[in-house]
Symmetry: C2
Subunit: 369 residues, 2 copies
């Protein structure tokens, strides 16, 4: 790891503005509605105010979905029935506009960019006229098998963070005001489960789920792979598995992660640095969020959990980050789909603070009791 | 009740199209995603297909929020700390664009119409330039106190249903393709709890919640009012309370309901008749839905539950209707707010079926196991 490079990404990230959050809470009490009746939207409005450093916060008008794509050497352990080339094929599908995330991004008016940070095979020519953009920034052609060896070198891990940071910075410079880091990578729920287990200290079986919907047999192989990876890392560091929770984020990323999780972490850091909200998706996005939080704890203040994935490890990561998800639609697709669906809820939380009348302004009587 | 009038509203309502739903399920399996990975969106896509009678279903582009407003004689039982004139003041606020529903409707691109179906006091002149529209169709100036006597006459109940039906028909004629019946009415969670108790057969205390956030003392008065209303109705019909579940919808509406619940029922019937989805909100909207379902059971096929309100009776109504809510944001405001927030999820469910590429079209490999 080149600490100087990572330092550049985390420099200047400061916690959310507590005064702006308090101003939002105070304003909620004046608006024409019973106190507390907007539930989670009120808490979200306060958090958005803290991120922006002002109340009312801006209503996000230009969300950008960044789908970070990478492949995984752990696939050779038999952890998924899908062939690795699907990662590259789906990248072409994102660019052509035929994936689920394209349809959902269209509904909420989000820009879609696919970022090849570590795909193993050639990305095919899209079959339809391109709707999405492709950033080609491949750090390496897929990770090594984390059961046998570190998934990537420290330098590659840092570079994957840099790819996400730079891609996000590019979109922010273009005017994006809400970042949605999504993922694509056959095998990446295995790698993410290992990351979540190491960072949260949970048992592998309790954070390893069925991913794309695998059988009991494949699930057993997957739990075994995550367990073996944790044991390998613990043994190489001469630590008990429970002590892996103390390892630096960049070390866990290099040992157990994926290139897309590194890029997601970089994207989170870029959002936090620019005080822009980052909407996290499911397990892989949250695993990247865990790495980012380990690199710069204050960046949690800029994270919003878009949805509760059915993947077991997602809930472990949400609990660890202290995030309550906006939606629970029993999704398990990735790509940023669940996060993108939460965009209108964020917009509403911000718009309520800027657009609602107060009791005084509207001439509405308050309660008498 | 004038049965001929109600017959006109329910005539021609037919169940959803099972063949279109089956076509949607079949199509889901061909799209570029793991089977079942879109969770609730897949079931919702099938239901929208059944409603429209075709797959893919249309993506709703012109949602209309109809906020039906009425007052409640039961307020004299001390069930709310808010004065009755707030109903009229909030109607003016909806028209001025200063209420929560206006901000949320703006985010999702929905039209807002306030419908005075039974406000007790004069609607003040809006203080800002009008953003919403007002339909004035007052059937009577608030209901009678349902603890002492029927809330309204059978004729008034039918007419309230007619107001909702006609208002919805007007908006559908203007091009609305998704109906969102909301509510405003100080005291209406008491009346709705009584409606829900009578139709579902639940105990009053199990369906009576804190509404705007009332104290333990006021809650006790509210449970007592609902219990007394149920007992009055049972005694007047010489039935045990448990047998009220067999009463016709229009009878329960007249005895225990509110003018806005009647109008909501009419709005649901209009949507079902035109095969347009109806997004239900919280307790009051669901109480109207229960009445509609009693009048025409097939109209449940056109209902989507927008969110799970924290009001106790809302969950009882959802269970009775067999609906799984899209969102759970711990809201308890009404106005159609929770339902309106679910609009983008409905749009996504429909857009996925029309816009996603199949594995074959996109050149993406299927799983091998």
């Amino acid at each position: 790891v080149s600490p100087e490079v990572l330092e550049e990404f985390v420099a200047g990230i400061s916690p959310g503005d507590a005064a702006a959050a308090a101003a939002a809470d105070k304003r909620q009490a004046l608006l024409t509605k019973p106190a507390g009746s907007l539930g989670d939207l009120e808490a979200l409005g306060s958090r958005l105010s803290a991120m922006a450093g002002r109340c009312p916060p801006p209503v996000p008008s230009r969300p950008a979905v960044l789908i970070f794509a990478g492949d995984h050497g752990v696939l050779s352990e038999g952890v998924s029935p899908w062939p690795a080339e699907v990662t590259a094929q789906m990248v072409a599908n994102f660019v052509a506009g035929g994936a689920a995330i394209n349809a959902i991004a269209g509904v909420v008016g989000a820009d879609v960019v696919a970022v090849d940070v570590g795909v193993a095979t050639a990305v095919p020519q899209p079959r339809r006229q391109a709707k999405g953009r492709l950033f080609s920034a491949r750090v390496r052609a897929g990770t090594a098998n984390l059961v046998r060896e570190p998934a990537m070198s420290p330098d590659e891990a840092s570079r994957s963070v840099g790819v996400g940071f730079e891609a996000a910075a590019t979109l922010l410079d273009e005017g994006a005001d809400l970042l949605i880091p999504g993922d694509m990578g056959i095998g990446n729920t295995t790698s993410s489960a290992a990351l979540v287990a190491a960072i949260t200290g949970r048992q592998p079986a309790s954070v390893t789920g069925r991913g794309t919907g695998i059988s009991d047999e494949v699930l057993a192989l997957k739990v075994a792979a995550v367990t073996a990876a944790i044991d390998r890392l613990a043994s190489s560091r001469q630590l008990p598995a429970a002590a892996l929770t103390d390892l630096p984020g960049e070390v866990v990323l290099a040992e157990l992660g994926g290139l897309e999780m590194g890029a997601i972490a970089g994207c989170v850091l870029a959002g936090a640095k620019r005080r822009v909200p980052v909407l996290l998706d499911g397990l892989i996005s949250l695993a990247g969020g865990l790495v980012a939080a380990r690199l710069a704890p204050a960046c949690v203040d800029y994270m919003v959990a878009g949805h509760r994935s059915v993947e077991l490890g997602a809930t472990a990561a949400l609990d660890h980050l202290g995030l309550h998800p906006v939606l629970d639609l029993r999704l398990r697709l990735g790509e940023g789909t669940g996060a993108c669906l939460a965009v209108p809820v964020l917009r509403a939380a911000a718009a309520l603070l800027s657009e609602m009348a107060t009791f005084d302004d509207a001439g509405v009587s308050s309660e008498t009791a």
